[in-house]
Symmetry: C2
Subunit: 398 residues, 2 copies
Amino acid sequence: MISVHEAKEILSTNPLSLPDTSLPFQKSLHHTLATDVFADRDAPPFHRVTMDGIAIQAASLKANKRYPIEGIQAAGQPQRSLSNSNHCLEVMTGAMLPKNTDCVIPYEKIRLLDGMAEVDSAQYSPYQNVHLQGTDAKKGDRILEKGNWIHAGKLSVLASLGHAQVSVRQLPRVLVCATGDELVPVEQPPLPHQIRSSNVYMLESALKDLGINAKTAHLADERQELKEGIEKALKEYQVLLFSGAVSKGKFDFLPEVFRELGVDTLIHGVNQKPGKPFLFGRKGDCFVFGFPGNPASTLVCFHTYFKTWLSNSLQRDTETPSAILADEVVFNRPVTYHLLVKTTIREGKIWAVPIKNSGSGDWVHLSEADAFLSLPADATVFKKNEVFPITYFHKDNF
Amino acid sequence: MISVHEAKEILSTNPLSLPDTSLPFQKSLHHTLATDVFADRDAPPFHRVTMDGIAIQAASLKANKRYPIEGIQAAGQPQRSLSNSNHCLEVMTGAMLPKNTDCVIPYEKIRLLDGMAEVDSAQYSPYQNVHLQGTDAKKGDRILEKGNWIHAGKLSVLASLGHAQVSVRQLPRVLVCATGDELVPVEQPPLPHQIRSSNVYMLESALKDLGINAKTAHLADERQELKEGIEKALKEYQVLLFSGAVSKGKFDFLPEVFRELGVDTLIHGVNQKPGKPFLFGRKGDCFVFGFPGNPASTLVCFHTYFKTWLSNSLQRDTETPSAILADEVVFNRPVTYHLLVKTTIREGKIWAVPIKNSGSGDWVHLSEADAFLSLPADATVFKKNEVFPITYFHKDNF
């Protein structure tokens, strides 16, 4: 049985090769940028007025001086020019600073009367209330980097730089497959020995959070049906996610069927709880993830392995956050223990409160967790205030 | 001029009234639950086998005892019954525990030979490897609460409980309006005095993060056009978000136009930087937010005011996280200072590193920030290691 660390190593040396694709910039939100992006001109592109008021020559200033107003320089107008250094132009936020002016005095600090602006104070320096051309970036500067995740702020940069089309990494075609003869559709009343299908929707939702619209399927625990369904899927999809049928049960046909179909099993079994029977394999450019069928096992393995592997395949920079254990935990087996927690932020610290639950089949308490801590295999007592790596299922409380 | 706190108070007493709506459960991701959800049966609904192996009567156990195998209890099969207390049934994870058995021994701990299972050890107690009926929830227990935000784990609970349709709060119809004659479309080369439109896309993206597909529009800084456009929008939308035209400029027609159209201005001006001219008003059941047009002002006001107001209107529970300032900051004016930061998590602590920038018009550096700290108005020196409330633009590093 390999360790969590070894499993991650295997995943990182088997990335999915994702081509680049071009999207209209408004559709690029949450995608990963495939190219560096450079400034097409200075930012700001001109000396930009930052307050509504008047533009003058700072050298002309005296307290209580009255400046005849020559006119208005609005935002979006070609640059005007002040003709007399003892006059002023009214200027609006976002406008070009007029020629022959070097200072803006806001309306709050002047009085307007009879076509004149009277200034209260002489305390203004050159380029006050002016956002100087090229302060934030020079033409040709690299503004965004390949591998950046496109959020609202970066999308707005793409707009500002005129990138109507954006080159991003293409997201993979993913099929989520449930197995398990005990499962009935959500809308069907289950018999006493049946339960409703749910993992497939959990995975579909977790994939949506990554921007992936997956297809879903249900395959019966029947060898021939599994084999035919998977053979077809291996040709149509880049990634197959399975929930269930990877353990030691009599109807856990997946490992065998994968072998028969020429899938190279790279991982089967990881020294962890939950999720011990986790399976990872590939056939050419199609990758299969076999998550153990208990809800917590499925979700923990999805985040530990699939999500990390996808970020790596997208060549997206990621961080490994950590959190502080809020209560002592004892776990006596020499395996990595993925402890379900609910996080809370107090005084700038992330506290991870263990969620009481009855094990990996307990979907009721799983839904109260927003993350899990990965407690190392080489210890048994994990003390309050100790820090451990954390993986978030979602980020509700931010 | 009112304080940030007073502005939030005004917003909280003017919520949007959002009706409930019913969605197919797969579409309910990231919505807010409008009803409590109860267990329709026990969870688990039966004594559930948690390991693949054999089921026996614990009282019959002796080391090296051989149990004739009576058959297989698969997951999804009606409950079988053990006929002889010295026999066993093979059982699969997820199956009902057979009648007349009370203990499961995993395959790893037995040897199978000639229709017999030989047990290694007598160290098994009743109900070992059995997930007892009703452990996680009893029929009738409340499992999810009104106001819960539906993430992958909770959506899977809805599936498990058979909620094919889910009652959620309806999200509002939102129009995002850019103003500003200096703005040209993204695909059009700007003249020297022009810039490309970007705030409207930033807001559109930030709304998408909240699950809202907003419409967008651009209105010229022309009084009559503004008035006609807004009059129409007040009837068609529940929320109008404006970027620009709310300050003291000659073409900042919005406050006046709102007055003329009967919009009750509840906030205009908040003692903060950036975002001082922020405006909030309502006409009947339509609400208007006027964000100052600089990119940082727009984004900070969106998160400080709109997002909080929406959560409140959805009656969604939210937390106010905090972070630790990573570098001393001096700010000499008696206003709340929304400091742009990039967060990083080390040892379970959220460190907020100030982003150097040239002010609220600097969209280049704004895009490097993932959050802002709100530094209180009554201090001027903010020391390294001090803790302040933080608002996230997005959660890239979690």
